[in-house]
């Protein structure tokens, strides 16, 4: 078990290097910004508690992604009621006044995020990890399935995502 000082250092490392990963995973499960902030805080607290069990067998990034995915799934199942469709902000990428190209990219990203949020959870977690650049081996570790199964699931998720995006365009 990591001692308190070591745990604090590990936690600082995770919170410094996995910020984007954690907030993007949360984004794939929660469209409401206020609820997403709560979810991110919940993930960070879970990471703090879980670091007691971190043995260094996997990378910190894999460990953080695994905890974040599970907390997000738990968040979705614990919702008080089914979510209403929250309109994502148009400036999801850039807060500065967007020229045409940026506006187009913002729109694409918005459509991508909304489509990911519509995927069934098993496919959603696979595609998000793939977009985050995890290898099949790392994804297999996070999802607790074989690399072969990860490959097949990613394939299905890609097909489903493309079809949702086509329907929405």
């Amino acid at each position: 078990m990591a001692n308190n000082q070591g745990k604090r250092q590990l936690f600082e490392e995770v919170s410094a290097s996995c910020t984007g990963l954690i907030s993007r995973i949360a984004l794939s499960y929660e469209a409401d910004p206020a609820l997403r902030r709560e979810l991110i805080q919940d993930i960070l607290l879970a990471l703090w508690i879980a670091l007691d069990n971190f043995r260094g067998e996997a990378s910190l990034k894999t460990f953080a992604a695994s905890i974040a995915q599970k907390r997000c799934i738990s968040h979705v199942t614990k919702r008080a009621r089914e979510p209403r469709q929250v309109e994502l902000p148009a400036d999801l990428i850039s807060a500065s006044p967007p020229p045409d190209e940026i506006a187009l990219r913002n729109d694409q990203k918005k459509r991508l995020v909304e489509s990911i949020q519509l995927l069934p959870i098993p496919q959603r977690e696979a595609i998000v990890l793939a977009f985050e650049g995890f290898s099949y081996g790392e994804m297999a570790e996070i999802l607790g399935i074989t690399s072969n199964a990860v490959m097949l699931r990613c394939q299905r998720a890609k097909t489903a995502l493309k079809s949702i995006m086509e329907q929405r365009s």
Partner: protein, 205 residues
């Protein structure tokens, strides 16, 4: 989805500043570590306060009735503290090997919550009067007759009305929590089905 399409989507997914900025995330991280440490301290502080209260009450009153109530109340608070800590650690970290185990663990946790709610609903009319008699017995000296008289006096006081109102509110909250837990169980069962469908497909069924 072709490889270039996938790469384009991946770049789009990771593009731009994060949905939350680094300063905000740092603040959340600091808050999380403070909360984590605080949760540990609170558990022990509450448990120690309860034990001190029960032991103190028994010592002050010198009554067999107070002592008889203090012992089970001390045991119950010790058991509840340990149990709550374990449940919270499991519920927070959800440290499982695969998604099947994760969903099963979550289902078990939800079922345990439902049981706890049910027990809570049953215990409110049982434990609360016990705790009340314990309190009255400390003041009145501990004899059954005196306790009964003091209890009747208390029952006519405005504090009794407030106490009963609070208990009713607690019961309503427990009922709400029960309904929420039942909905959670239904969603988890749906999720278990979704994972099974994926697994079956991957196995070529």
């Amino acid at each position: 989805m072709s490889r270039p399409e996938f790469d384009e989507f991946a770049a789009l997914w990771q593009d731009g500043p994060d949905p939350l900025d680094q300063a905000e995330m740092d603040a959340y991280a600091r808050k999380a570590s403070r909360r984590g440490q605080l949760l540990d301290y609170i558990d022990y502080a509450v448990w120690i306060s309860l034990i001190v209260m029960f032991v103190g009450g028994a010592v002050i009153s010198h009554s067999p009735l107070t002592l008889a109530l203090a012992v089970p109340l001390m045991l119950a608070s010790t058991w509840l503290t340990l149990r709550r800590r374990r449940l919270r650690q499991m519920a927070r970290t959800l440290d499982t090997s695969d998604r099947g185990a994760f969903v099963e663990t979550s289902l078990r946790n939800a079922a345990a919550n439902l049981r706890r709610n049910t027990i809570g609903l049953l215990l409110i009319p049982l434990v609360m009067p016990m705790a009340l008699i314990f309190k009255v017995s400390i003041r009145s000296g501990g004899g059954p007759q005196e306790v009964w008289q003091a209890f009747l006096l208390w029952a006519q006081s405005p504090r009794a009305v407030v106490g009963i109102a609070l208990l009713s509110a607690l019961a309503v909250l427990t009922l709400r929590s029960r309904r929420k837990t039942k909905a959670e169980i239904l969603r988890l069962q749906g999720l278990r089905e979704a994972y099974r469908t994926e697994t079956d497909w991957e196995r070529g069924k």
